[in-house]
Symmetry: C2
Subunit: 547 residues, 2 copies
Amino acid sequence: MASATPLVPSDGASPLLSTGTRWAIRLKPEDDVVVATRPVEAGTPLERAGFEGSEEFTGWKTRTKIGLGHKVAIRDLETGAPVRKYGQIIGFASQPIQVGDWVHVHNLRADRFERPVEHSPQAGRAGSWRPEPMEPRTFQGYPRGDGRVGTRNYLAVISTVNCSAATSRFVAERFREPSWRRLFPNLDGVFALTHQGGCGLPLNGRDHQTLARVLAGFARHPNVAGYVVIGLGCEVAQADHLIESQALRRATSVGGPADVLNAPPLVLTIQEQGGIEATVQAGVEAVRRLMPAANQHVRRQTPASKLCVALECGGSDGASGLTANPALGVAADLVVGQGGTVILGETTEIYGAEHLLIERAVTPEVAAKLADRIAWWEDYVARFGATIDNNPSPGNKAGGLTTIYEKSLGALAKAGSSPLCDVVEYGQAPTCPGLIFMDTPGYDPVCTTGLVAGGANVLVFTTGRGSVLGLRPTPCLKVATNTPMYRRMIDDMDLDAGVILDGVPVDQVGRAIFEAILRVASGEPTKSDRLGVGEDEFVPWTIGPTL
Amino acid sequence: MASATPLVPSDGASPLLSTGTRWAIRLKPEDDVVVATRPVEAGTPLERAGFEGSEEFTGWKTRTKIGLGHKVAIRDLETGAPVRKYGQIIGFASQPIQVGDWVHVHNLRADRFERPVEHSPQAGRAGSWRPEPMEPRTFQGYPRGDGRVGTRNYLAVISTVNCSAATSRFVAERFREPSWRRLFPNLDGVFALTHQGGCGLPLNGRDHQTLARVLAGFARHPNVAGYVVIGLGCEVAQADHLIESQALRRATSVGGPADVLNAPPLVLTIQEQGGIEATVQAGVEAVRRLMPAANQHVRRQTPASKLCVALECGGSDGASGLTANPALGVAADLVVGQGGTVILGETTEIYGAEHLLIERAVTPEVAAKLADRIAWWEDYVARFGATIDNNPSPGNKAGGLTTIYEKSLGALAKAGSSPLCDVVEYGQAPTCPGLIFMDTPGYDPVCTTGLVAGGANVLVFTTGRGSVLGLRPTPCLKVATNTPMYRRMIDDMDLDAGVILDGVPVDQVGRAIFEAILRVASGEPTKSDRLGVGEDEFVPWTIGPTL
Ligand SMILES: [Ca+2]
Ligand SMILES: [Ca+2]
Ligand SMILES: [Ca+2]
Ligand SMILES: [Ca+2]
Ligand SMILES: [Ca+2]
């Protein structure tokens, strides 16, 4: 009954322990190093290590003990040579390295790495990336008639301010009893969007604008067929301001009579209605009026280009960068290859290694947008007398991470290798398909709220310690980085990427994630769908001041 | 179905309109001005204006038109003379003023007001204040055996982090069905404390410490008989850190077997339990184990000195400073006179006029604490390139507020006139009875969360526009500033202070609030108790950074 799940269970066995003789994985064919999936002694043969191509290493052995998660050279490297992991440079040899050598702080340095001050498209890899050839795929989505395609079909009750949160929740709770499902079988449910803000903040200030953008992003989310807005009446974040500044309309543009579709949104204020009870009754009536139109939406075959997949990691562990994240990167590249969109967030997780993303930008303008956001973060944390320290901690180093580039690449691995097509503000919708970076904190509920506000219709969440996040209206696929946690939390985990440590290739697990995305987009419930999780995790980003 | 309730209803009648010939109120006997409760023409007799003592003004008339909420002189004042409202100086005559004159920006200035740079106890009024003689009063409370006395008897499910919010809520929801009430009739219910923080923040930083203080304040609140803590497992705000840093014990010290009382708190983590469903089951079991001991607490006659009343205003209007706030001030003085405690928050509402409170401090040390908090706020908002503008807005001035002192006194009026005994941090428990100031934002849910974390066992909330806040585990009495809103929101409002505009003396309404506090403390349900409001409004203050 106490604190945290230990990374190493009490029996001393590591959750990263692989079976059989396999003991190493190679993340990309071009890598100069492989990673140990269990500790091995000096003199352990590379030939049967189990990584792709290990059979070619007849006669080669490890030259020292190698710890779990640590790197072993599989090429001879001269002093100053770049060293690649994830197919990317994580640093430079600070002394000659031979096949079988342990590669860590004693022979790998990051300081010679010249981060490009400006983006140079010819130096970047955006132009040369090509998706793997693959036949066009489809899923069964809800086309909304305006280009947007939903993967779920919800009605929402949106509170403008904390003062109307309880009332909004009471309205949604009246639809928990599934009696309406017989009449409206195409509707997935009614949920409340409640939050802690909306007043005590500067009018039209940053937090007010962010809240409006996020609430509007959920209101017009492809998974939301219609919604009711509930306010108190005297809050700073007025419903009228929300609707006018965001040009909101009542419902999605297919499936109902025209008067419902193009009308302004339904708005109820507690002060006008005369209190909570009267507002709950009016809110229930308003939701009921939206149900017939919402029910006219049906799933249809839709190209996979309509996928918009949010990428998130939380509760990471030493396996995150080896299993679930690179596998999700494979899936992300497949989504992009289909013409779809993937959104990466978590600016704090790439801080200090942002050039790794900047060099993938399709234009200097996109590169500059990311550099601007990095500068904003430096200023923001400095206001608190703090800095973002994304350098490998002593614990990270003990676990085998040598440089900040290597650490950031473990998080970036989720985003695969496709070009960076745009950088958007928190909660902003992508303007084009492909890989999009959204500026968000790393904190899971805040990050995912931004990604879903941007229109993500599937969320894939990798976790090592075991996060249980869901976030309506978007289904959340949770990918475990290690098999012991996957088994222990089988009620909450959807997929096990820990099998990579047992020798299943990263690419194969990535393809399985891609297939799962298509199934979930077509209506297969995720574990968090089944559990009914996803209202408490709506947490719009605020920076203050709270007045 | 649109935005805000107008201050003036659509029929053009003002909610401040009083009946009959009465048209002015006098807030304190020593005041130099009275306030118009409806617009009157030039030449309107003062004699029948209806304020206390108006019958002595035979022959005197208003010398100009007087707007609603505006001030009329009832003494001749020379240039430079102090002008009193609320019994306190709101400014100085900038030209000679005669009885019947309109008093506003044209003849009242604040700039000659010398704010004391240092506290001088002899200049302050702390030493001379004496409570009105009154017989000792009692209420029926839950004595907890350690000096604390509850006014409700709840069990709580406390989430350490947003990642365990849904799980905590699921546990509390399992006790909504009242089947357990037959077995445990002395228990008021089970509620969940959920929030948006707990991770993505600096370890042991300000937000982490604030969250721990607030959660601990609710855990050991006199209205909480026992609690279960639910965490995810890998969050920054670990349950162990909470329990150790705050020295938490499992349950209150009366009413159960010793092993329950002195044991460490029950803690469940989702990662150890193996997921949401397993944790919900374990959480329900843990709550059930606490129920028999909680049920042994019974109400007993308790001195009113055990009252700890939180004072809050929100959704204020032009009548707030004339009706509900001064009446609550009368009640606050009565509570203090009984040896009880009242806690005022909302630093931003007194900003710029803090000397009005500082001069009431019992010692220079207490005065310095408040000055320190003011300096902190100046620095905090400056970090955002902002300032706290608490000066009367054009709308405030149109409504009759002339100076920042007058405006702040409208908010301060809630705190009556007793000495300022201490200044505490957000969520910190008072160290002595009497009037306590807690440093909080003005934003209602954030402020009241701090006040209740400090141990308030009754919350009195004055509102003009109609706030519907509740906050478990503390009953919230809502006092309307005007009768039209009181009537329109009768399902949510407990008391109508708008009758002051009809001539009921402020003192009489204040006494009625005091009696209502005793009744509610003894178990009489408030409107928000009946509605079941009070879980969404738990909003611990955060200042950032969110990482
Ligand atoms: Ca929420
Ligand atoms: Ca994250
Ligand atoms: Ca909450
Ligand atoms: Ca206020
Ligand atoms: Ca307030």
